[in-house]
Subunit: 260 residues, 3 copies
């Protein structure tokens, strides 16, 4: 058991390499969020190099936000190589439920590799456990039922740590559950903040031995940075800029007292 | 007939999903501009899912800024599916006139599908109507003649609403013409502002029944946001950030009085 | 012999088109850095158009940050076309040393085409001259020996102007060497600043007849912009925004006095 401050301190000392196979929309923003936090990002998607690259990494984040067949092949190859070496894998099933291709790709990844943490919104995660949900594009519109229960069910059914983000986040390994109330409504006004939380989850996994704890702490840290960024922001543009400043300014010495 | 304030109010209520098949350079910026305005962006380019995705959308924006054959196939498939369902399509022929591949791809799209609005700079649009023009990379250097006449001619020849942007924008359906003088020179100092105006045109099309009106109002709204962003900006970086804040702050209650 | 202020003045008058075949992570940022500086960026990677596009350009920048086979083919085709027309070529071997694919691709480009300037960090350049180095992801961790000597050796062995960036930059054509001490530690907190320096090197090459001088002046100008941006920045987000403002504000009349 570590606190978020302790894990953040480990992360900043270890500077883990986080290998991302992610969507075109958020590559820059994800890399900058990881750098600001204190991790080292790398983006690599070629089938020719993903297995070698993941071997250098502390964690792998795969994100299907703009997928195509050759990228899916690379995601599977990288995740299998990660599994063989005991490197944690986070999956962000962006848009699962919106199109068959996204739903089936997310399911295929969950079937073929060991995913350590599944980080998605309620609509995406509900889709993957077979609960009816409405996902419009990449936004969760409605997912019936209690999100805490959804996280527990997803964890049990899919054999992952389920990290279901929303106004309040619910993280579960099927037995334990952590709720995270940190965050700010402005996070929803900038594209890719969900993807950033996935990448940050990977960085915390690379800095911890407890996936449930790491997944929850990543959301705490990211949510607290969001709270800091919202102060003084005058809109989504200034909030976005302040978010990187806030991630870099997160203080391991005081962060524990801010967890909600 | 609606005012830009009325259409903006509809847009914010409807929160239309805008499906973008766009270039790598501006994906994040386009998504953030749409979110800031009040629409929902989604980026999807896989042949496997574009037809399904566009069926969920209020409008489709296709942009050839960084094209390759598989992307062109996806653009055509998505646009045909949009046509079948009566979903409006905006084409941004980025760099038409600079290379044969871009010119021919833009022509092919105009031939094979019904494009609702063609949004480009004078050099690109002139190229597509067969008028000699100079396009350097993706910038219009020179397009002989009057841009209003160019818009009317493009509208008639290509059977589109032609939206020709520049220091003053000219939007025409071949009969009517609207001039939009809103905007600021700083918009030309940030990459992708043309692409943003294309995406915003799509969002307005999804919120209106009159394509000419929607195309003109999109440029009015975007230009007014540009004017607001320029106030206080100290260079292209701070202008870029302020642009998202300004899009989010556009006020349907006062915007009509600012149209120029 | 020109000063950096003179070359910058030429650049702003000439507004050279810089053709970039670069990685997904930094496309927007690279384009905005070039625009802010006063050059015209274009991104084009399709085999169908790269030879035609490079023919319009003042310089070509190729960057292997997120490579795949079809992109490598396009890089080689574009660079060969550039060579035939005497257009300078800059290579950024992002991550050479981290994976075999990156190392071999960088070597292949150096073998098959005439690279005018090789711009990389010490680990990447050391890898390419066969000196042992540690590259983690895309970050140089350790490269034994003196970076000035590395630059000279790389220049001689690879027959390029070698531009080895780090806390102090070393630029050499094998005989002459220029050290550039301009810059700020905050440049390392934002992803893609190395890639920006590569693109800016291309813009300076397009504005000068002396590749060694142009490569060094590009780093001086970029470093000085970094110094200006660091003033008042409160973290990596605000620094990043200020960097574009600072590039646009670089003053050819005073920059010479600031070279370190």
């Amino acid at each position: 058991m570590s606190t978020v401050g302790e894990t953040l301190r480990t992360l900043r000392e270890r500077k883990p390499l986080v290998h991302n196979i992610t969507n075109y929309v958020v590559m820059n923003e994800t890399a900058n969020a990881l750098l600001a936090l204190g991790a080292l990002p790398v983006m690599a998607h070629a089938r020719e190099e993903v297995e070698e690259m993941v071997g250098l990494a502390g964690a792998l984040a795969i994100n299907i936000g703009t997928l195509s067949p050759s990228w899916v092949d690379a995601m599977l190859a990288a995740a299998k190589a990660a599994n063989e070496r005991g490197i944690p894998v986070v999956l962000d099933p962006v848009g699962a439920g919106a199109t068959t291709y996204r739903t089936e790709t997310a399911r295929r990844i969950l079937d073929e590799v060991d995913v350590t943490v599944l980080r998605g919104n309620a609509g995406e995660v509900a889709t993957l456990v077979g609960v009816s949900a409405e996902v419009r594009g990449v936004e969760s519109i409605a997912a019936g039922g209690d999100p805490g229960e959804l996280a527990r069910e997803a964890a049990r059914t899919l054999e992952v740590v389920a990290s279901v983000t929303g106004p309040v986040d619910h993280v579960s390994d099927g037995e334990r559950e952590v709720e995270v109330a940190n965050g700010d409504a402005m996070l929803a006004t900038v594209t890719g903040t969900g993807c950033m939380s996935t990448a940050i989850t990977a960085a915390f996994l690379a800095s911890s031995d407890d996936p449930l704890e790491a997944a929850a702490q990543a959301l705490q840290a990211f949510g607290i940075a969001g709270e800091d960024a919202a102060r003084g922001a005058t809109g989504p543009g200034s909030f976005h800029v302040a978010l990187y400043d806030a991630l870099a300014a997160l203080d391991p010495g005081t962060i524990d007292g801010r967890v909600r």
